[in-house]
Symmetry: C2
Subunit: 178 residues, 2 copies
Amino acid sequence: MKTLLQRGFNGCGVQDITSAAGVPKGSFYNHFESKEALGAEVIERYWQSSSSRLAILRDASVSPLERLRRCFTSQVEALVEWNYERGCLLGNFAAEMSDHSTVLRARVAAAFAEWTRELEQVIQQAQAAGEIPQGSPPAALATFLINAWEGAVLRARVDKSRVALDAYLSLAFDKVLA
Amino acid sequence: MKTLLQRGFNGCGVQDITSAAGVPKGSFYNHFESKEALGAEVIERYWQSSSSRLAILRDASVSPLERLRRCFTSQVEALVEWNYERGCLLGNFAAEMSDHSTVLRARVAAAFAEWTRELEQVIQQAQAAGEIPQGSPPAALATFLINAWEGAVLRARVDKSRVALDAYLSLAFDKVLA
């Protein structure tokens, strides 16, 4: 996962992956039919490993709007800590593989869809609690915010700067959800 | 440019590029020091070829807000027409190469910066004309909208659907710029 996250799907070979894992290259095909099959598995694991993000969104002891804020703020902090050198595996695979692998595309789409549903629920709760206005459909807000987040992460990596992330936090919460 | 846009920087080799151009592979290095040097040139050309986008943004015969709307609506139409199969070269290179080539990263950053400045000017004009409120700084709005756009394009490619693009148009204009 680390090798794929750092180098991209086409930026590394099976050899790089098995070397990083400290196993012989030949053993790879005992476990995976192809690099694509590993990629699909990695997307699944990456999404499961985002459980801290989901834990924040589901923490009923915190107000819905504050949960939304913490979800993105914690990710900003992580990106800054990594010097903007690790992006989002979903966004990376989306850019690289959407038009080249139906298997990987479907896995990325499923992960984005699940994240969107999670966010949508919290937005619904924030609307019900009167923390944000009722006007916009929660599904559209969730989709927009997740996509805008992915774009902000990409830009922060290009600029090696938090400007894009700060613009995201400020406008997502002061305009989109206000 | 077409080959790099379709396959990504790491998804094609020099051979693929020279084949697509109908020239012998050996001739490549008469023109470019490396594939990276070609990539940098392609980013520059790609950005220059976005002149229709800039022409829309600079068309003083149209109100600033309407120019912003046309700029993104025309890109949505193009993506739908291509069946979401071509993304944005800047976004693709950002995802793939930000951490692996300072040359490519710098070129992508420069193109995004120029696009942001262009958008910022039109947002300033829209604010001055009273078409959008003065509250948010034009530079932050421009950065946010461009990044959110890049994320929406990525998501449309993953979903092979215009849902992300419609959410973008609706929330960018009804919330972020309203």
